[in-house]
Symmetry: C2
Subunit: 132 residues, 2 copies
DNA sequence: CTGTATCCCCATAGATACTG
DNA sequence: CAGTATCTATGGGGATACAG
């Protein structure tokens, strides 16, 4: 999995590794949600806000800005009153959908196994705690 | 990307979505590093500690325990003195290598584009700040 | 060797209020 | 409508010390 770039330098396994960077890119609560919503086409700020539900304006703006900075999303502001802003996945952004899809598919396939494993683990822990 | 399980219920896009769960699984600083190291075969606690370099004992133990709980890793303690503990990817754990590999490959392929995009964004921001 | 226990810090998310 | 600005606190993570 992790590319050769860091597989050869064990103690630098942290920051410069492409995989780390890729994960840092999407490993927060909202990023993938937004990418997913935008994969269906351009959306306005308010629309995204409504659809995500639970996200604060601060986090929405912050996450969208990060995506824009990373070149995954474009931001187009229309100089109107009231203002209108449209966000859209870039070509680069679209290329991320594939890998994320793979991860999603994995999750869908193995979710029940994960839940089973957790249940089993917690059960054993509980028993161990009781016998102590 | 995000599976149908949540694509139909926009406002529940948060917790129950399989993709979210998959990401939560691996979206921390150390998890993927450990999975990567273990993908090469079973390893002892100390070996992992040395190879990751920079991780605290607390986080190493905590992360390994989480992986064990999720059924991605097995933990085998040998009742010896001094103690020996070996960690190994489970069959389920191995199935995760593929999707993570896809993400890694994406990162490797597009890392330069990301860096370019960031540089460009930051440059524009700087210019905007100066002209203000 | 393989952990636990404890303290502490600070980054970050959330809430709230305000603005062009 | 689409954001900023500001405040707060919470809990995740590091450092350290200790234990079986």
């Amino acid at each position: 999995m992790v590319s050769k770039a860091c597989s050869l330098a064990p103690n630098v396994l942290s920051a410069q590794c492409p995989t780390r960077q890729a994960l840092d890119l999407i490993a927060d609560k909202w990023t993938t949600l937004l990418i997913y919503l935008l994969s269906k086409g351009k959306q306005r700020y308010g629309d995204l806000h409504r659809q995500v539900g639970g996200i604060s304006q601060k986090m929405l703006t912050q996450t969208l800005r990060k995506l824009e900075r990373d070149g995954l999303v474009t931001r187009h502001v229309y100089p109107e009153v009231p203002p209108r802003t449209e966000y859209e996945l870039t070509k680069l952004g679209h290329t991320l959908i594939g890998p994320l899809g793979a991860l999603c598919e994995w999750a869908g396939t193995h979710l029940s196994e994960l839940e089973q494993a957790r249940k089993r683990y917690d059960h054993l822990q509980k028993k161990a705690a009781l016998s102590a």
